[in-house]
Amino acid sequence: MSNTPDGLKYAKTHEWIKDNGDGTVTVGISDHAQELLGDLVFVELPEAGSDIAAGDEIAVVESVKAASDIYSPLSGKILGINDVLNDAPESINDSPYEEGWLFTLKMTDKSELDALMDADAYTKHAQDEEH
């Protein structure tokens, strides 16, 4: 069974969002998503400083199997990216919620957080998709 920690928010497109409480969030992909993708071998991250809207395609993760687009769950400005992933994309497989984070973002509209799912709702969503 995949790990879906409480206290994070989740998007339908399998990103997790951690509210850092200071107007910024950290974004990654869920354990369920990395399991579906298989071994990750390449990550293309957004540029720090770029302005993005919720739903924009802003990153690509590629596994041995396929390429998968990552969508920004929220609108805002990219603050930082996880450079470690350039050389160690497998960090996403090994530690999707810690070492494998993708980017941090300064939100322009905090109310967008309310549209995201909690752990229970995401678990159910992931199960529904499997069947």
Binding site: E35, G38, V41, F42, E44, E62, V64, K65, A67
Partner: protein, 363 residues
């Protein structure tokens, strides 16, 4: 409903991620495709390949029939137990499937074809029998395990019965030995040494478990694909199909145009293509920068499209992306791949990329 091999429950018990493949439910990996890949390059791993179709051809006309059916010439098989890789072509010279044929005796040949094309192949093979004295016997009673890697033979031999063990220990590459129930061939699809074992379904789970106990790692179809790509082996449906001839698919070496009097199906169109100039060729590619080459990505020299990738992916051994691509003959050796709207330089290299655990080309 996808078909299940005799090992289906075993795969589930081992925690495999199962996917539909060619009408079968098959394991794509058991946790990590890359670790499975390395296990076969460095030690030993195994695949359940029971979804592949084994077909026995029996009768006094077997040899004549196969010399008509196949683009390679079974006349090259001089002693029993020898194997030959061949394409089976349609009348336009397009590839219906690629296969291995084993010479069992003067009235018995065994062939193994791809799972996804099995029904089509069987239909074609039966249709071509016509007046030949040949019986076509699909062997759905048999299962098949491929054990591959530098330690594969050493770890497998103790699990064979004594008579078979002695014969299998002396096998040359591309040869097979058998007893009334088991068949052991020194063949594979990984670029490593190893055996492919065809055996009664009832014996299969026990052999699989014994191999696991001997330290042979279960590997899924994902690793099978990256291993065969590194080994520069074509995959049917990607690198060739019914619309392409072997000559534009890097398989000219498998077409026996001599002796000239052998008239096999598809011969005319191949001779014509050869006479008029082979328009395309299959080449190996390495991506210079970051990213992953994938099938169907387009290749450009300046602004002209010169071809596309037929098989691409990440090479765990080389830790970079490699591909097979079909390009126009005479294209310059420097060109770009289009990846998500961007053009990135790729380099043409000789393939295989990897053989017997080591780099086999110049990057």
């Amino acid at each position: 409903m996808d078909k299940k091999t005799i090992l289906n429950q075993t795969h589930h018990n081992l925690g495999a991620r199962m996917v539909p493949f060619g009408g079968w439910e098959m394991p794509v990996h058991y946790g990590s495709q890359i670790e499975e890949h390395h296990a076969i390059r460095q030690h030993a791993g195994m695949f359940d390949v029971s979804h592949m179709q084994i077909i026995d051809l029996k009768g006094s006309d077997c040899k004549r029939y196969l010399r008509h059916l196949l683009a390679n010439d079974v006349g090259k098989l001089k002693s029993t137990g020898r194997a030959l890789y061949s394409c089976m072509l349609n009348s336009q010279g397009g590839v219906i499937d690629d296969l291995i044929v084993y010479f069992m005796d003067e009235t018995w040949y065994r062939i193994v074809v791809n799972a996804s094309t099995a029904q089509k192949d069987l239909g074609w093979i039966m249709e071509q029998v016509g007046v030949f004295g040949v019986e076509v016997l699909p062997r759905s009673d048999m299962a098949m395990i491929a054990v591959q890697g530098p330690k594969a033979i050493e770890l497998t031999l103790p699990l064979l019965n004594e008579e078979l063990r002695e014969a299998a220990a002396d096998l040359k590459p591309f040869s097979a030995v058998w007893d009334p129930s088991w068949f052991v061939a020194r063949t594979g699809y990984t670029g490593e040494d190893g055996f492919e074992i065809l055996l009664p379904q009832g014996d299969c789970i026990a052999l699989w478990n014994d191999l696991v106990d001997a330290g042979v790692r279960p590997c899924g179809l994902g690793a099978r694909d990256t291993l065969r790509l590194e080994a520069g082996m074509n995959l049917y449906g990607q690198d060739m199909d019914e619309t392409t001839t072997p000559l534009v698919s890097g398989l000219g070496w498998t077409v026996a145009l001599k002796p000239e009097e052998r008239s096999f199906i598809g011969r005319g169109p191949l001779e014509k293509q050869k006479r008029e100039g082979i328009p395309q060729q299959l080449v190996g590619l390495v991506l210079e920068g970051r990213g992953i080459l994938r099938s169907h990505q387009k290749l450009f020299a300046a602004d002209k499209q010169i071809g596309e990738i037929t098989s691409g992916g990440f090479s765990p051994t080389l830790e970079r992306s490699i591909a097979l691509a079909r390009i126009e003959t005479g294209s310059p050796h420097g060109f770009d791949v289009e990846m998500r709207g961007k053009r990135l330089p790729v380099k043409v290299v000789k393939y295989p990329f990897v053989r017997h655990g080591k780099l086999a080309t110049k990057l």
